[in-house]
Symmetry: C2
Subunit: 150 residues, 2 copies
């Protein structure tokens, strides 16, 4: 299996993967609006802040691969929801550090717990090997995104 990784099968895989990601991401967005009151972008940002400790909006924007103005908006949304705290950056008066507060951690835990979340609901219909495949795919997607820089 996967013994033959010709360029053709490779670009073919790329096509299918792209379509699958586009469609799933669409479904996620719809679901998110209906279910959590927090957009997928905001959720992803919150998770990143939680994982990578207090960081500046610029750093966060870079991690999430969006531009700073976009992150400004997302942070505004998270702040309105009362999920993050801003503290002044001791090293730079223009900037500040963002951290998840208790409410944010609560929300993240709740999101993770949500059995009815779109993907979790569907994952429960798969067998363990298939779930594992998707778990590894998620890691791979993050990894190839990391390599990026132009």
């Amino acid at each position: 299996m996967a013994a033959k990784t010709t360029d053709t099968s490779l670009t073919d895989t790329a096509s299918h993967l792209r379509d699958a990601i586009v469609r799933t991401s669409r479904a996620l967005r719809q679901e998110a609006a209906a279910e959590t009151g927090l957009s997928p972008s905001a959720t992803a940002a919150l998770a990143t802040i939680n994982r990578s400790g207090p960081l500046t909006p610029s750093e966060l924007a870079e991690l999430e691969r969006v531009k700073r103005p976009s992150m400004t908006r997302t942070l505004g949304c998270l702040e309105r929801e009362g999920l993050i705290e801003r503290t002044p950056d001791p090293a730079d008066g223009r900037s500040f550090l963002v951290a998840v507060n208790d409410a944010g951690r609560e929300r993240l835990a709740r999101l993770r717990r949500r059995k009815s979340a779109y993907l979790a609901r569907r994952l429960r219909k798969l067998d363990p090997a298939e779930v594992d495949t998707l778990a590894r795919a998620a890691e791979l997607l993050e990894r190839i995104r990391e390599d990026e820089r132009g």
Copy 2:
């Protein structure tokens, strides 16, 4: 491996997968605008029309999991690019059938060929087993989307 599929690991996998998909889809959109002049949505729709033969806008909307007005817009875009043909639906005067024309097939082939496409470029850095994992993940994502219907 994957022997333990507790509900915890399952919802955890769901979280990671969702974030990975959201971020990758963002990267794809940016890339698409810059590179092909055709949005990921339009590309996915074109591929579906090509794969599933001539079909009505409603059927297409259902396959792509968008609402009819959204598909109207996407089709308008594909038509402006001269990639599809509409023929009257012999069975229903209100409707019509959409099919990919030569230019559309050309474009699809070109897209698939594009070695520099975002995902293809990154896939080439992975080893065959990893590419295979992503290929199977794409299938799984499509499959769990199929199950849907509320």
